[in-house]
């Protein structure tokens, strides 16, 4: 369980991205966070795995106070949390399988990772992860030969190969076309259901968020202004989150 208690994040330049966030997310939930750019969605997400350090309040994951973690402990903690990015963050000049295997280096001795000596078991984990997102046959292609949707699937497979309890997805479909977006979101749902991995995704497109998530969190100016099941999201609530009516441009046609 992830628990935010009055979490505050102030950046060194004085910008307050989170202004006292209270939130708890159970294991296995599928949550989408919506809100305007700059509302604090990314900061909220990245505070969970401490890619951004919080500056106030308390944030616990399975009863571990994450802000006290440092060095080795922090790295061990991060192994349970996978992350998917808007720009995929793959090494484009290398093969798909090597990108997925990168998720295994955290658990390997340094010398083995320097020599690239992956255990057979790691290769099987990586290939099974690729199979789960349906691109097993691309395992030995170079990542830059794949389409955007396929690249995001590789990134998802990399995260699955990490065998995490939680997946954080920062705008996972924002750079994909509508059809591909839906396919990638379906992969997220499948992984959420079959592996009981908590998925927390920042979403740009409201209709896709509403379609795939069980729970919606609306963020505005560093505060949570809505938290509830996606079925209960009304136009008034969206107006409150975004400060105006949504037009067709804000929707993807899901």
């Amino acid at each position: 369980m992830i628990k935010f208690e009055g979490v505050v994040k102030t950046y060194p330049n004085g910008v307050q991205a989170l202004k006292g966030v209270d939130l708890s997310i159970e294991q296995g939930e599928f949550v989408c966070i919506i809100g305007l750019s700059g509302a604090g969605k990314s900061t909220l997400l990245r505070s969970i795995n401490q890619m951004h350090q919080i500056t106030g309040g308390k944030l616990t994951v399975d009863d571990v106070d994450v802000s006290t973690l440092k060095g080795k402990e922090l790295r061990r903690f991060r192994r349970n949390i996978g992350m998917v990015f808007q720009s995929f963050n793959l090494v484009k000049r290398t093969t798909v399988i090597k990108n997925v295997l990168a998720a295994r280096v955290a658990d390997m001795p340094l010398w083995k990772s320097l020599l690239g000596l992956y255990a057979k078991q790691d290769k099987i984990i990586a290939l099974e992860a690729l199979d789960q997102v349906g691109i097993l046959e691309k395992a030995y292609s170079r990542a830059d030969q794949l389409s955007g949707g396929q690249q995001q699937r590789v990134a998802l497979a990399r995260t699955v190969a990490q065998q995490p309890k939680i997946i954080l997805a920062d705008e996972p479909v924002a750079s994909l076309d509508p059809v591909t977006s839906q396919q990638v979101m379906s992969d997220f749902v499948k992984i959420n259901k079959t592996l009981n991995i908590t998925v927390i995704a920042n979403m740009h497109h409201v209709d896709i968020a509403l379609k795939y998530a069980n729970r919606i969190i609306g963020v505005k100016e560093g505060k949570i202004v809505f938290d509830g099941p996606s079925l209960k999201v009304t136009n008034d609530i969206l107006k409150e989150i975004y400060g105006r009516e949504l037009s067709d441009d804000d929707l993807m046609g899901a």
Binding site: N49, M51, R75, R76, F77, R78, R79, N80, I81, G82, M83, F85, S87, F88, N89, L90, V91, K92, R93, T94, K98, N99, A102, A103, V105, A106, M108, L110, S113, L114, A155, R158, T159, Q162
Partner: protein, 273 residues
């Protein structure tokens, strides 16, 4: 003053609708005088005289003429020192290149968080880089004595300083996305660098390695002059005896080797990038 300005300004352009556009003054207005002043100052500083070039220009070819015909039979004697020179450059380049990876990691803007550590490493590297290769050889001669090993170590250190700088500039500008992804999975920064950054840079790394190797072969040929082994010793000796046909043979072998290696290296680099 205004009149001078007007003299240098290009003529205004008049459009068909009557609008007038004044083009900006060409920077050549001050660049050319500066270049001229620098040119005349440097000719007097270096003692250059056009008269010498005309009167004694043919002297340049005196020795070249004496080199013909080259003593082809001498090849058997040139062959071994040439191989020594090549080995010296290969091993020196590889050793320097290997050590340049950790040094570049420690000097790069985006890998090292501590500004103090980065400052210390960069300062040491800058100081090392200012030592001319010939001075390095003389310093190592005292340690290891004359021979190919001294040449190898000197070339290694020299390559190390240059490649570290070239390589950390590459690290500074590479895509940090994979690094962030791997670090977020709980890997240390060194592991994230090795699996997220290095695969992006291997091609460019090999390319700068080959560039340094080409440079080192030419350097290695001279190093023999100060006692670092290889073909330079032979060249020095034959020149001293004025055995010009043999000198010619040495130069031919050297030119051919450098040409072959540069062509090969250019071919590989083209395939890499």
């Amino acid at each position: 003053m205004d009149k001078i300005k007007k003299f240098f300004l290009p003529k205004p352009i008049i459009l068909s609708n009557g609008k007038v556009v004044q083009p900006a003054m060409s920077p050549m207005v001050y660049v050319i005088p500066i270049l001229l002043v620098m040119f005349f100052y440097s000719t007097s500083l270096t003692g250059f005289a056009l008269g010498t070039l005309i009167n004694r220009g043919s002297r340049f070819f005196d020795i070249l003429v004496k080199m013909f015909p080259p003593n082809f039979g001498y090849f058997t004697k040139v062959w071994t020192p040439m191989v020594v020179t090549l080995v010296m450059s290969i091993v020196g380049t590889l050793a320097g290149a290997a050590f340049s990876i950790p040094a570049a990691y420690l000097s790069s803007e985006n890998m090292v968080k501590s500004p103090l550590l980065k400052f210390i490493v960069r300062s040491i590297m800058s100081v090392l880089r200012t030592i001319p290769l010939l001075v390095l050889v003389i310093l190592f001669l005292n340690m290891f004595g004359a021979g190919a090993f001294t040449g190898m170590i000197s070339l290694g250190v020299f390559t190390f300083t240059i490649m570290t700088k070239m390589f950390y500039e590459l690290i500074d500008t590479c895509d940090m996305g994979p690094f962030e992804a791997i670090e977020s999975s709980g890997a240390s920064r060194v592991k994230a660098f090795w699996t997220g950054i290095m695969p992006q840079l291997w091609g460019q790394y090999i390319s700068i390695l080959l560039y340094n190797f080409e440079m080192n072969i030419r350097n290695a040929a001279i190093l023999g002059y100060v006692g670092a082994g290889g073909i330079g010793i032979l060249l020095n000796d034959r020149l001293g005896w004025r055995a010009y046909p043999e000198v010619a043979m040495i130069l031919l072998v050297l030119m051919l080797s450098v040409y072959l290696i540069e062509s090969l290296s250019r071919y590989i680099r083209k395939r890499l990038l």
